[in-house]
Amino acid sequence: MPSTPDLLGRRLLFFTGKGGVGKSTVSAATALLAAEAGQRVLLVSADGKGDIAAFFEHAPVGFRPEKVYPGVKAMAMDTEASLREYLRLNLRMPFPARLGPLAKALDFVATAAPGVKEILTIGKICWDVRESLEGRARWDLVVVDAAATGHIVAQLGAAQAIEELVTVGPVRSQTGWMTEILSDPATTALNVVVTPEEMPVHETIDLVDRVRAELSVPFGTIAVNRVLPELFTRSEEAAFAALRRPEAVVALAGVAGPGAGTVLEAADLAVTLRRTRAAHLARLREAVDLPLVYLPELFVRAEGMRVTRMTADALGEELGV
């Protein structure tokens, strides 16, 4: 097994994963962990959902980074705002007045050539990273709650795609440095969040292959989320089996009340679930030679800061922070 990477030593961390596996939670937890280690962190929601801030019990954020926690600023990607910023910084084009029709046109062009929207997302992120690399630092670390597995290759490969499509023009000349940042293993890492279930594992394996075939973005770690606890050791397993025998259940119910049988049944369910998930995990480990970190299933009431905190603690332990 490859050793756990120095994730927090990078400048740019992407988190992808199949929908519903806890990609945003792990992104937020990573931001929290880094901030508490003394870093200035920018947390970016790449799909434009401002509710990433909810993981810090903060109201939704927009394109302008807002402080959501000491050391953590969060922003939601907005391709139109990103274009405005790009034009202002690069082309020195003064035209807030002209932006109405331009925004519409952008929407259109972006639909026709999907790389455009992605390049505005990835370009903005890379720009922030470059600024800090060149000492105009506002951030020590940029954490991106990136596109889901189905879309991440298009997102990260936008610079490459543009290079293929647009043969000349300023956009073309802008893509080289992005690719450089994105492919530098000292700077960037793509992380995959997965749960030990069939489809997420399947998509993760596919994704790792695709990224390696099509992009030069280095991988960081695979964060396995919602790992159920191993209930029993080998000898305890034998004891549990004995306890499930009718005469033992009767004896237990006599002391612990009529619910004892139900409690044992629930434990059996927990064991079975764990076993099924372990099989998927085994498949993942076999197919992918990347370091894995394990985050436990959290038996808590709701999402929010509590979950972010607990996930950050578990992540810190796994990463040795």
Binding site: G19, V21, M199, G259
Partner: protein, 434 residues
């Protein structure tokens, strides 16, 4: 003719959950569209509903699926084939306990006699190619489109392209009249509503003023090699040219000029699809799990369906934890075991012992009292953990403010659904027990 199960909102708190199955709904509909947030098991539920409908209601049933797990695709006989509709072999359905075995085909009215399950996978790329080949005005135009550098990009990555082609295919299959019931598993989208709007947006996209504006200089200048005459004065072209370069703009224009030749067809079919979605023979089944985020999305989606006057037929809550986890007696025992496992361990150990336990099934060598105590403590803790989650689920369920009449709960299966007998088991929870 249509038994319309209304999708009107119910007052919260009326807990008539798990009342029926999909029987009545699917018996009256020709199209059932399964939708909902990603990662909730939509594909399995849709496939199980189709299999169950074929077995119980009879008729020729097709499930159109988008991205099934590989093993499930294998089970449905979809591995390696593209867009073709394929029958799932009857023997395999029988083996799985779907069709035939429980109720032989001697049934009255002969309903199940002709029943069969078909499956098809949606291959976006191939569907687009087919569409272009079929609807372009001539072969030369078709190939010009297929060979355009942007064509692949647009059809493969255009966010709505999957949704559009899914709807287009649905319309085409329905129009063929080949099936009694078509069950559609919708593509995973960032926004579950995208596919509803896809036909409309597609028509707007190709007919939009913006497109005409963009391609205008080329329409008059002939095909390739058009010059950006007079455009320097227009701020849009100025900006676009500076950002993207004119060669790129020319590519876009060429693509759309060719594509526009199919415009009338697009508008017409978009309208037909729209009509089909609103038809009384079409119903929507929303699938979710009982987790906060997916459920929020599902609720929003249900509200939108009602808003758009689309037929909300059922809500399926998948991967629900079993009810016994809510059991108060269980909780009491679990608390006791978690905090003070000693006495229970002693009693249980005594029961293992063949000398002290009359009728005991034999000694269990090597199981010490300390081990049993640890196990009981773990078991108690684990119950309380899972109960917390089960209670959270129950609370979320009771908070559902706008639900269709038919709400079904499918339990968490200990293993993934990847074969026909798995689908059979899942379908037991979607239909009225036989």
């Amino acid at each position: 003719m249509n038994v319309s199960i209304s999708g009107t909102p119910r007052t919260p708190g009326t807990d008539r959950l798990d009342a029926a199955g999909l029987d009545r709904l699917l018996a009256a509909k020709e199209i059932a569209i399964f939708c909902g947030p990603g990662g909730v098991g939509k594909t399995s539920v849709a496939a199980a509903a189709a299999a169950g409908a074929a077995a119980r209601l009879g008729g020729k049933v097709l499930v159109v699926t988008v991205d099934p797990a590989r093993r499930l695709a294998d089970a449905l006989g979809l591995a390696g084939i593209g867009n073709l509709e394929r029958p799932v072999p009857l023997e395999r359905l029988k083996e799985a306990g779907l069709m035939g075995t429980a109720k032989p085909q001697t049934e009255s009215k002969g309903k199940p006699q002709g029943s069969s399950l078909w499956a098809a996978m949606l291959d976006t790329k191939r569907s687009w190619d087919d569409l272009v080949l079929r609807h372009a005005p001539d072969e030369a135009t078709a190939y010009r489109i297929l060979e355009n550098r942007l064509y692949h990009n647009i059809t493969a990555r255009f966010v709505q392209s999957h949704d559009y082609i899914a709807m287009e295919r649905l319309h085409e299959i329905h129009q063929s009249g080949a099936y009694d019931l078509i069950v559609v598993d919708t593509p995973p989208t960032r926004n579950a509503l995208d596919f509803l709007e896809a036909p409309q947006r597609m028509a707007e996209f190709f007919g939009g003023r913006l497109l005409r504006w963009l391609t205008m200089p080329y329409r008059f200048a002939g095909r390739r090699g058009a010059r950006m005459v007079n455009l320097a004065s227009k701020p849009f072209y100025q900006v676009a040219d500076r950002i993207l370069g004119s060669a790129f703009l020319e590519d876009i224009a060429e693509f759309f000029l060719n594509f526009q030749s199919m415009y009338d067809g697009f508008v017409q079919r978009a309208r037909s699809v729209e009509r089909l979605l609103h038809d009384r023979r079409t119903t929507f089944v929303v699938v979710s799990t009982l987790e906060a985020a997916p459920l929020r999305e599902a609720e929003f989606f249900m509200a939108e369906l009602v808003e758009r006057r689309l037929h909300l037929g059922a809500l399926v809550l998948n991967k629900a934890l079993p009810d016994y986890l809510l059991d108060e007696a269980g909780a009491a025992s679990a608390r006791l075991l978690a905090t003070d496992p000693g006495p229970a361990a002693a009693a249980a150990t005594a029961a293992f012992d063949p000398c002290t336990a009359p009728g005991g099934s034999g000694a269990s060598p090597g199981i010490t009292d300390a081990t049993v105590r640890r196990v009981l403590q773990t078991v108690g803790d684990s119950f309380l953990n899972f109960q917390l989650v089960a209670k959270r689920e129950a609370e979320l369920r009771s908070e559902l403010s706008r639900v269709p009449e038919c709400v079904l709960r499918v339990p968490y299966f200990e293993s993934d659904i990847h074969d026909l007998s798995g689908l059979a088991r899942l379908s037991e929870h979607l239909f009225v027990p036989r």
